[in-house]
């Protein structure tokens, strides 16, 4: 990896003809920002690049690095076992939990099998099955969100991508055990929200969460995909923005340099956050828990009246 210093030297050279190298300068600025990671000064577009960083921890990293005794459970009991969503029993600092998350995969082969973490309806139905299982076992649910979005393919439409996500939104509102959701990388639209309805919703500091990808938004509203950095600013997908909008309850500071540069530090920060949220939630009676969850999501939105 090129050092920040070298990148800055390159930038200085390009800055001599800023008009000529407009795109290169922007890219280089992003790269410098990413190489710094986790610092407040990142633009929304830069944060998106960090959130998508190829070395960022994926689900399996969390499961092995942060949880113990993971027992993976497969299948939706309907059609398939969609590997783009992974889940099972695990321990977290002495607590028994059901952990469920998007799995982008590590190797090329895994990435292919998992459609880079873009789930089919089967994946959302598997997630719901595991959540109901957690309810039966009386243990809390931890979800880790990291997806560009639900898979936009023929199969998905055929088997009811829309219905599968919608059904999860309904049922997650009813689940009688605590649910803590954390966006750990990309929180892409309905595909993220499909496992994102919780008593507490958190974000890692360099993760993003958005109704549409910056590229998609730029394509529609600017009719120019290359305006993604501008759209990103407008969409305000960063953790800080979401905290202000009261969509997330807590932002978890990643180690300086970003999650990809310090797995252990990231796991430690996330573990601490989850556990500190979990303990009070476990004391709430089930009926009150779902009532509070309903009220939490009822309160989201800003409108005039």
């Amino acid at each position: 990896m090129t050092s920040t210093k070298e990148l800055e030297k390159k930038l200085a050279a390009l800055m001599k003809s800023p008009d000529l190298f407009e795109k290169e300068i922007r890219d280089l600025k992003s790269e410098i920002a990413i190489s710094r990671g986790g610092e407040k000064s990142l633009t929304a577009w830069e944060t998106i690049q960090v959130a998508r960083h190829k070395d960022r921890p994926t689900f399996k990293d969390y499961v092995t690095g942060m949880f113990t005794d993971f027992i993976e459970l497969h299948g939706d009991r309907r059609f398939s076992d969609d590997l783009a969503i992974c889940g099972g029993f695990a321990h977290l600092g002495g607590e028994s939990v059901m952990v469920i998350g998007h799995d982008k995969g590590k190797t090329i082969e895994e990435k292919g099998d998992r459609r880079f973490g873009c789930a089919l309806p089967d994946g959302y139905r598997k997630a719901m099955r595991l959540m109901r299982l957690a309810e039966r076992f009386g243990i809390p649910i931890i979800t880790l969100i990291d997806t560009q979005g639900a898979y936009p393919g023929l199969e998905g439409e055929e088997r009811g991508q829309a219905e599968a996500i919608a059904r999860n939104l309904v049922e997650m509102a009813q689940i009688s055990v605590p649910i803590i959701c954390t966006v750990v990388g990309e929180g892409g639209s309905g595909g993220a929200l499909g496992i994102g309805v919780g008593d507490k919703v958190m974000m890692l500091s360099n993760s993003v969460y958005s109704v549409i990808s910056a590229e998609g938004c730029a394509g529609i509203l600017w009719r120019d995909g290359s305006k993604a950095p501008v759209a990103a600013e407008a969409l305000k997908p960063t953790a800080e923005s979401l905290l202000k909008l009261k969509v997330v309850d807590r932002v978890i500071q990643e180690p300086s340099g970003g999650a990809h540069s310090d797995y252990a530090g990231t796991f430690e920060a996330l573990r601490e956050a989850v556990l500190s949220e979990l303990r009070p939630l476990k004391k709430i009676a089930p009926a009150k828990l779902t009532k509070k969850r309903f009220e939490k999501f009822s309160a989201m939105g800003i409108y005039n009246e």
Binding site: G160, A162, I165, L169, Q174, S189, S241, M300, I302, N304
Partner: protein, 275 residues
């Protein structure tokens, strides 16, 4: 052969006062027929878009509708601007153009005497998009159902979440579904009527989780856009892909009901609610 039975009205005989082109089959049809059938093409059965008030007019008993929460209108939580201007201006324009304050009209009324709560989306208002205001109105409608033990009917017509409100528009999916969840727990029926088009964040939230999902014929019902999918799978898609009929075949729609029969059938279905 009389002139009106000729296959195509010639330019000479075409009068915009009497004739119009069907937006789907592009055949010439009498304006009067189009209006009398509530915007259903007599040639190809295309179900045109209705405004919320037109829908309420043909669905609820006369004078029975009482609007709820009519004063809710969009804010601009992100101070959003795109290449064509500001979200604020867009909403002002939409309000002026439609006479509505949001993309949904909600209220109570009766259908052949049976009391219901309804939410009717209007595609004219920023493509029927799901915003904070729209979500709030739908949630309040379902809360009203919950409190009064009345069946809820939502007529969807939407291009999806309103991205100008960023993450808040996404959260309306969870918010509206949380309202539906409460109805489920209390066994209050929720009928979802999907009309053309019902896509994106609306299809992926309240629209597809009705106790009974009803669609108008030929409506576009989709999660992802056709073009996105074609790019993903590098194949042409079947012609009826993402239509009401396609979704019925794949198990997601209970029944397709022609507009002319919608009110009668809704009443019939509701009459089975025993509590």
């Amino acid at each position: 052969m009389a002139w009106f039975s000729s296959r195509k009205a010639t330019k000479e005989t075409f009068s915009e006062d009497i004739w119009m082109k069907c937006p789907k089959c592009e055949k010439h049809i009498f304006k009067e027929d189009w209006q009398n059938s509530h915007k259903v093409c007599p040639k190809c059965n295309f179900h045109g878009k209705l405004t919320a008030w037109e829908r309420i007019g043909i669905t609820l008993d006369q004078n029975s509708f009482v609007e709820l929460n009519s004063s809710i209108s969009p804010a601009d939580p992100l101070n959003f601007h795109d290449s064509k201007g500001s979200y604020k201006d867009k909403t002002s324009e939409a309000i002026k153009k439609t006479g509505l304050k949001e993309s949904v009209v909600t209220g109570t009324g009766t259908i052949n005497g049976l009391s219901v709560v309804v939410a009717v989306m209007d595609f004219r208002f920023l493509g029927g998009s799901l915003s904070s205001g729209c979500g709030e109105k739908i949630l309040r409608a379902s809360n009203y159902s919950y409190d009064k033990n009345l069946p809820l009917i939502i007529f969807s017509a939407s291009g999806g979440a309103r991205m100008h409100e960023g993450i808040l528009s996404l959260m309306q999916m969870a918010k509206t579904c949380a309202g539906i969840a409460r109805l489920n727990e209390k066994n209050i029926p929720y009928l979802s009527v999907l009309t053309d088009p019902t896509t994106g964040g609306v299809s992926a939230s309240f629209a597809t989780v009705g106790d009974i999902n009803i669609a108008e014929p030929g409506a576009l019902i989709a999660f992802a856009g056709r073009r996105v999918i074609e790019e993903t799978i590098k194949q042409k898609l079947p012609d009826d892909f993402q239509t009401s009929e396609y979704l019925l075949e794949h198990g997601f729609i209970d029944t397709i009901i022609h507009r002319s029969e919608m009110k009668t059938k809704l009443h019939q279905i509701l009459s089975f609610y025993g509590r």
